[in-house]
């Protein structure tokens, strides 16, 4: 009956309770949608980085990653590629040769990471072709084509079809150089691509390196929902002599951003729930203080103070949580709708894309986020109930009945 009593007490002042319940609905909706919107930003950044830079995973010779020594190539690249292609979770695979060297134009020279790619594979794995802002994708020039980032091109003061010379050590340790023509200029978000990378055809690079078929890096993409850590472990088990790393191992920044999503939501929950808690406490205090006589009579009749405390707690819990499902459902519906349709921020796309976001964002909230919000509401309700309940049990029946 305590629960019945508490429930009916909630509806004693319908208008007043409706205001609090309405505030909870709006608050929870704001939390779910706000959390999902923030997630969409971070997920967009992470997805962009995975798609254009790190991919879902990479494979190297264990020694290669230490100082990019070109002698350390993947032992059996064809077998690795075949293994990856057989895996249902793997979508595309790209092979690369990599060497650090110098790039020189007629006017400038600078250090550069030279990446030898298979143009078709690279287009599928990192969508390198989609970053092209000028020229063509490894075509349209006589001789060895090279793609440069916009800033690097500016630094070297070169344009499409300009000649550049790449200088580096071959596999024997001898200095070698090759003449290349700028086939295209890339406009990339990533500083690595924009300022310090030169993309060439893998065979051209391997010829200069003096090793046919050398592969220093294999990158692969996976289907959405794939557990990239688990897959990396499986590949590692199959090729124990190589180093297999998922994007989480390759980019600690992305992991930090992923963790930041959860932390941001927690901060948002605390702020909104704190504001709502004051409203709940205020309403419940009013409810308790205007029922001084009633509570006093209940104690006089033989209701233990612990039961009165419980009744006020249940009442607060009802008041706080009755709007919860509505707010959550409204938030879920909004997120589902916008999650499919996307939020088009193309008016700000230039600014967004320059910092690694896409112009259309897709709000997303994880089940753990929903659970965190539910826990936040329950904790708020519990904490908000303590003071009014404490006020209620301090009443002396004799004073309460007298109306003091």
């Amino acid at each position: 009956m305590l629960a019945i009593l508490a429930w009916r007490n909630v509806w004693r002042h319908k208008g007043r309770s409706a205001v609090v319940i309405g505030a909870m609905v709006v608050g929870i909706w704001s939390l779910t949608f706000g959390g999902a919107f923030m997630n969409s930003f971070l997920l967009s950044y992470i997805q962009t980085a995975i798609r254009h830079e790190v991919s879902n995973g990479q494979i190297h010779h264990p020694e290669f990653t230490k100082d990019y020594d070109t002698r350390f190539t993947i032992a059996e690249p064809q077998r690795v590629v075949a293994f990856l292609n057989e895996n249902e979770s793997v979508v595309d695979v790209a092979r690369r040769s990599i060497v650090n060297g110098m790039i020189a134009s007629t006017r400038q020279a600078t250090g550069v990471k030279i990446v030898g790619v298979e143009p078709g594979e690279e287009a599928r794995v990192t969508e390198l072709d989609s970053l092209l802002s000028e020229g063509s994708y490894f075509e349209g020039v006589a001789g060895n084509p090279v793609l440069l980032g916009k800033r690097l091109a500016e630094k070297l003061k070169v344009k499409v079809k300009s000649k550049v010379v790449l200088t580096f050590q071959d596999i024997q340790g001898n200095i070698t150089a090759g003449s290349f023509r700028v086939a295209g200029i890339l406009d990339a978000i990533s500083n690595t691509i924009d300022e310090t990378s030169a993309f060439v055809v893998r065979d051209d690079l391997n010829r200069l390196l003096g090793v046919e078929g050398a592969v220093h890096e294999i990158a692969y993409t996976t289907l959405p929902g794939t557990d990239d850590e688990q897959l990396a472990d499986a590949i590692q088990a199959a090729f124990p002599d190589e180093t297999v790393r998922s994007w989480r191992d390759l980019s600690p920044l992305l992991v930090f951003m992923e963790q930041w999503m959860g932390a941001t939501l927690q901060i948002l929950i605390i702020i909104i729930m704190l504001a709502l808690a004051f409203g709940i406490v205020n309403t419940m205090l009013m409810a308790v203080l205007e029922r001084v006589r009633e509570v006093g009579v209940m104690i006089a009749l033989g209701t233990r103070r612990s039961r009165v405390f419980l009744m006020i707690m249940i009442e607060t819990l009802f008041l706080s949580t009755v709007g919860g499902p509505v707010g959550l459902l409204a938030g879920y519906a909004t997120i589902s709708w916008l999650g499919k349709r996307g939020i088009d921020l193309s008016d700000y796309s230039a600014g967004l894309e320059s910092i690694g976001y896409e112009s259309v964002l897709y709000p997303k909230l994880f089940i753990s986020d929903y659970l965190m919000i539910v826990a936040g509401v329950l904790i708020t309700a519990f904490l908000a109930s303590l003071y009014p309940a404490w006020k209620a049990i301090r009443m002396q029946p004799v004073d309460a009945i007298r109306g003091v």
Binding site: R8, V297, A300, L301, T303, R304
Partner: protein, 229 residues
């Protein structure tokens, strides 16, 4: 007859103002089972304070109150709450029913606190409302009942816990004459039929006329104690 309530040299002094107020002044009193007693006197004479002390709602500054041999004047708050639940029924001037519960639920409430089964609660609550001639209002909330009807529900609630005695503080103060007569007749009948002990505080002549014992208070002390045949 065995003594039900024994108050011995009780005093109650309030220190809420700079001058202490002595509401009850060295008062001794015995109530036996089955009495239909009215405590009367002018406003401020200490009627309500005495009733509160006898009912364990307030504690005397000095002196002792024993109920059925148990000293309640030094009990802890939690012990007193349980004691009141098992031994004392209350009827208040302003009825003080729980407004969100129906008449039936108000009567049931106290039995719920006594942890009686739902079946037993329902049966007893219905029976009591019938005795109070208000069974047809069982599903109505207090706001939908007249003052007289509410007070009859309050009496049913007081009886529901099978208390050793019922304290009624000015029970007819807010009632019209017809409701007062009805209520007094009902309480007198219950007193006769069940040997239930009633103690009223009142300055209503009609209550005084029905009472079989009249204790008159002035300035917190008994000035007369009249037992009627």
């Amino acid at each position: 007859m065995a003594s039900l309530i024994t108050a011995t040299n009780i005093s109650k002094v309030y220190h809420k103002t700079s001058v202490p107020v002595r509401a009850i002044n060295n008062l001794s009193l015995e109530i036996t089972e089955g009495e239909f007693t009215a405590i009367v006197g002018p406003s401020g004479c200490g009627k309500t304070t005495l009733l509160n002390i006898l009912g364990g709602l307030d504690q005397p500054t000095s002196g002792t109150v024993t109920i059925n041999g148990v000293d309640i004047s030094r009990m802890k708050d939690s012990e007193l709450i349980d004691f009141r639940l098992r031994n004392i029924g209350f009827v208040f001037q302003a009825y003080n029913l729980i407004p969100v519960l129906t008449a039936l639920e108000n009567v049931e409430f106290i039995m719920l606190l006594q942890k009686r089964s739902r079946k037993e609660r329902l049966a007893r609550a219905k029976e009591l409302l019938e005795q109070m001639n208000i069974a047809d209002k069982a599903d109505n909330r207090p706001g939908e009942l007249s003052g007289g009807q509410q007070q009859r529900v309050a009496v049913a609630r007081a009886l529901a816990s099978n208390p050793r005695f019922i304290l009624a503080d000015e029970p007819t103060a807010n009632l019209d004459s017809v409701s007062t007569e009805n209520l007094l007749d009902l309480m007198a009948r219950i007193n006769r039929e069940r040997n239930a002990t009633f103690i009223f505080s009142t300055h209503d002549e009609r209550v005084m006329n029905k009472a079989r014992r009249l204790i008159r208070l002035v300035d917190g002390a008994i000035v007369s104690d009249e037992v009627r045949p």
